[in-house]
Symmetry: C2
Subunit: 115 residues, 2 copies
C-alpha cells in the first residue's frame, strides 16, 4: 500500500519560504506523532515518508479540504500559528492530512495544485 502525508498551505498570508517550511514541519511532526503505532504510520515511515505539499488560496479553501478529509475518516492536523512573526496569533496557516493510503488522500486533495 502506498501511503502519503499531504500538507496543505494557504498562499494568501504572504509567508516567506522559511515561515512556510516551519509551519509545514509543525503539521508533519504533529501528524507523525499522532500516527505512532499505527500500521499506516509504519508503512509511511518504511516507504520514506512520502509527502506532498499543496496549496489553497485562502482560509475557506483550507477549511474545505480539512472538512472533506475528516468526513472521509482521515486524520487532520491544523496548525494555528503562535503569531510571533509574519501572521497574527491563532492564524490557521496549513494542515496535514494522513499519513494514509495515497488513494484516500488523493481523493480529497487530488484537485489541489502543488505549492
Amino acid at each position: 500500500m502506498s501511503v502519503k502525508l499531504a500538507l496543505v498551505v494557504r498562499t494568501d498570508l504572504a509567508m516567506g519560504k522559511g515561515k512556510i517550511a516551519a509551519q509545514v514541519a509543525h503539521a508533519a511532526v504533529a501528524a507523525a506523532l499522532h500516527g505512532l503505532g499505527s500500521a499506516e504510520f509504519a508503512a509511511w515511515l518504511h516507504d520514506g515518508q512520502q509527502k506532498v505539499v499543496l496549496r489553497v488560496s485562502d482560509s475557506e479553501g483550507l477549511q474545505k479540504v480539512c472538512d472533506d478529509a475528516a468526513s472521509a475518516g482521515l486524520h487532520v492536523e491544523v496548525v494555528h500559528d503562535a503569531g510571533r512573526t509574519q501572521v497574527l496569533p491563532g492564524t490557521v496557516t496549513c494542515c496535514a492530512i494522513g499519513p494514509a493510503s495515497a488513494a484516500e488522500v488523493d481523493r480529497v486533495t487530488g484537485s489541489l495544485p502543488l505549492l
Copy 2:
C-alpha cells in the same frame, strides 16, 4: 529550559518553496522520532515545538554546521533527497539539529541567517 529545533537548508539547489517545505518537514519528523522519550523532546513538544529555519549557501556550509553540531553532542538528522523532483538522487538538501537546549543550538547555528 528553552528547547528548539534548528532546520538548516541549502539555498544553492534552486528548490521551490514546496520542495523546501517537504525537505524541512522530513528533517523535523526524523528529529522528533529520534527524540521520542527524551526529556528535551518532551520539553520541546510542551513548549510548542519551537523551530527556526536557517540557510547555508552550499553543501560545504551544511556539512560544517552538521559537523559542529555533532561535535557539540547535538543530534543531527541529514536529509538525502530521493531525487524524484528538482534535485539529483542522494543530494543532501537540509539538516535538523536538536531538539535541544536553545543555548546549545544557538552556539552552533547562531551565525546563520534565517531562510
